[in-house]
């Protein structure tokens, strides 16, 4: 009984310290904003955590809608959380039509940022998923290019 109490007390003391040491999502957002490069202004971030795709199933997707405006240049950056198995991919859709993706599935090439020069104001859909349906967590950041 005495040992269990000791272990519990130690756990209560140690766990918050361990939690403190874990990189916070906010930190990941900050570093992802940095990775967007110079002359950009942060607009929005999306915190994405998805499970692994079930065998034979489609990859889980995080979807968000966002207004993009004509005559604006947008930069979409993706950053993976430390320990994430999958690599975060952003794909931009306009009314169900794929416009641009950070992952070229035919060549396997991945980009950490993609730029979109918008000429049509409207509500666009952003899909975030992890390459090859892996489990993962990460952050997607949208900036405007000044």
């Amino acid at each position: 009984m005495k040992n269990r109490l000791l272990i519990l007390s130690l756990a209560l003391l140690i766990l918050p310290v361990m939690a403190e040491g874990q990189p916070a999502t906010d930190d990941l957002v900050s570093s992802c904003v940095l990775s967007a490069g110079e002359n950009t202004t942060y607009l929005k971030d999306f915190r994405v955590q998805l499970p692994k795709a079930s065998p034979g199933g489609t990859a889980p997707v995080y979807k968000a809608n966002m207004y993009l405006m004509k005559n604006m240049k947008y930069r979409f950056s993706v950053c993976n959380a430390p320990g994430s198995n999958g690599e975060l991919v952003i794909t931009l859709y306009d009314q169900g039509k794929e416009l641009i993706s950070s992952y070229n599935r035919s060549t396997g090439k991945k980009y950490s940022t993609v730029d979109f020069i918008c000429n049509k104001t409207g509500l666009y859909t952003i899909w975030y998923d992890f390459a090859d349906g892996e489990q993962g967590s990460g952050v997607g950041v949208v900036c405007m290019i000044r």
């Binding site: 930190d27 570093s31 110079e38 202004t41 942060y42 929005k44 641009i100 104001t121």
Partner: protein, 305 residues
């Protein structure tokens, strides 16, 4: 090189700020009952779906200011909402709308690097955010320090926009979508006010397009507010005022020209240029009417009517 160093310094600073905020009493202070004027239930249920669909960046506190700056329109303190009346705001409705309005003002000040002037706006925002019990997302001391020192615009812009995003996310996650909707409406009306007032004196096609396209966004904003519009006189009045602006847009035409996008890779970065285009047709008279009505609504809101 200097820019890179500045950005790195910004991120180190922000990482510190975020860590400090995460380790503070924030999580412990999050669960509290708040009596907003719209009871969670009827309106919330319906609006949550609509919110999820349309709320993202419906009105950014920095985009319009950025357009104005790129047009080289001089800064004018006359566009800012006065802060002296903020202390007499008594309802959550008024506080939320004004939080949005001052948020757009802060974006305007920051984009124009008039950060020394922003302390009064910052402290007003802090008081309103505390009044709505979302002050934990607004790091007043750091924002004030960055503003006064004028040392790091990137950090200041990030931190101020991020504070608004976090408040919005928290409100929506905690069944306070009605307050989030009011804040968004406040940001929108102030951005609309800046844009229309500048457009009256500066003929710029990009800005006119931006104002004309608000027809679409205003339609969605009204959809967002509609579920709450019958819940109280204040919501009804706001809905009705925004609807009056919408009516001024009735004959503004937004059409689309098809085009195939063009993708290229530059310095390892993928770039897409969209050739499909939205086209706005808006006469000077229509613009004048929209500007007048937008000004009237914005002034009513800041005077607490």
């Amino acid at each position: 090189m200097t820019g890179t160093i500045t950005k790195i310094a910004a991120v180190i600073l922000l990482a510190g700020i975020c860590s400090c905020r995460n380790s503070g009493p924030r999580t412990g202070s999050l669960s509290f009952p708040v009596a907003d004027s719209v009871p969670a239930g009827e309106a919330e249920k319906l609006s949550e779906e609509a919110l999820a669909d349309i709320v993202q960046n419906i009105a950014s506190p920095v985009e319009i200011a950025s357009v104005l700056q790129s047009m080289q329109v001089p800064f004018s303190a006359g566009y800012l909402a006065p802060t002296r009346e903020a202390d007499r705001l008594s309802t959550n409705f008024q506080k939320a709308v004004m939080l949005g309005i001052y948020g757009a003002d802060l974006g305007y000040l920051n984009i124009y690097e008039k950060t020394g002037n922003s302390v009064e706006v910052l402290s007003t925002i802090k008081r309103l955010a505390d009044g709505l019990r979302v002050g934990q997302y607004f790091d007043f001391e750091t924002l004030k320090r960055l503003s006064v020192s004028k040392s790091n615009l990137d950090s200041l812009l990030f931190l101020s926009v991020n504070s608004y995003n976090q408040i919005d996310r928290y409100l929506r996650d905690n069944d306070r979508g009605s307050i989030s909707a009011l804040m968004i409406a406040g940001v929108w009306i102030e951005g609309q006010y800046f844009a229309t007032q500048v457009a009256l004196n500066n003929r710029d096609e990009v800005l006119r397009d931006r104002i004309g396209e608000q027809k679409i966004i205003l339609g969605d904003l009204l959809m967002l507010l509609r579920p709450y519009s019958t819940s109280s006189g204040e919501y009804q009045s706001l809905f009705s005022m925004l609807d009056q602006i919408s009516r001024k847009y009735a004959d503004v035409r937004v059409s689309y020209r098809l085009g195939e996008p063009e993708t290229s890779e530059v310095d390892g970065r993928l770039i897409m240029v969209q050739h499909e285009e939205s086209i706005v047709e808006m006469s000077d008279a229509q613009l004048a009417e929209i500007a007048e009505m937008s000004k009237e609504v914005r002034n009513k809101l800041i005077s607490g009517i």
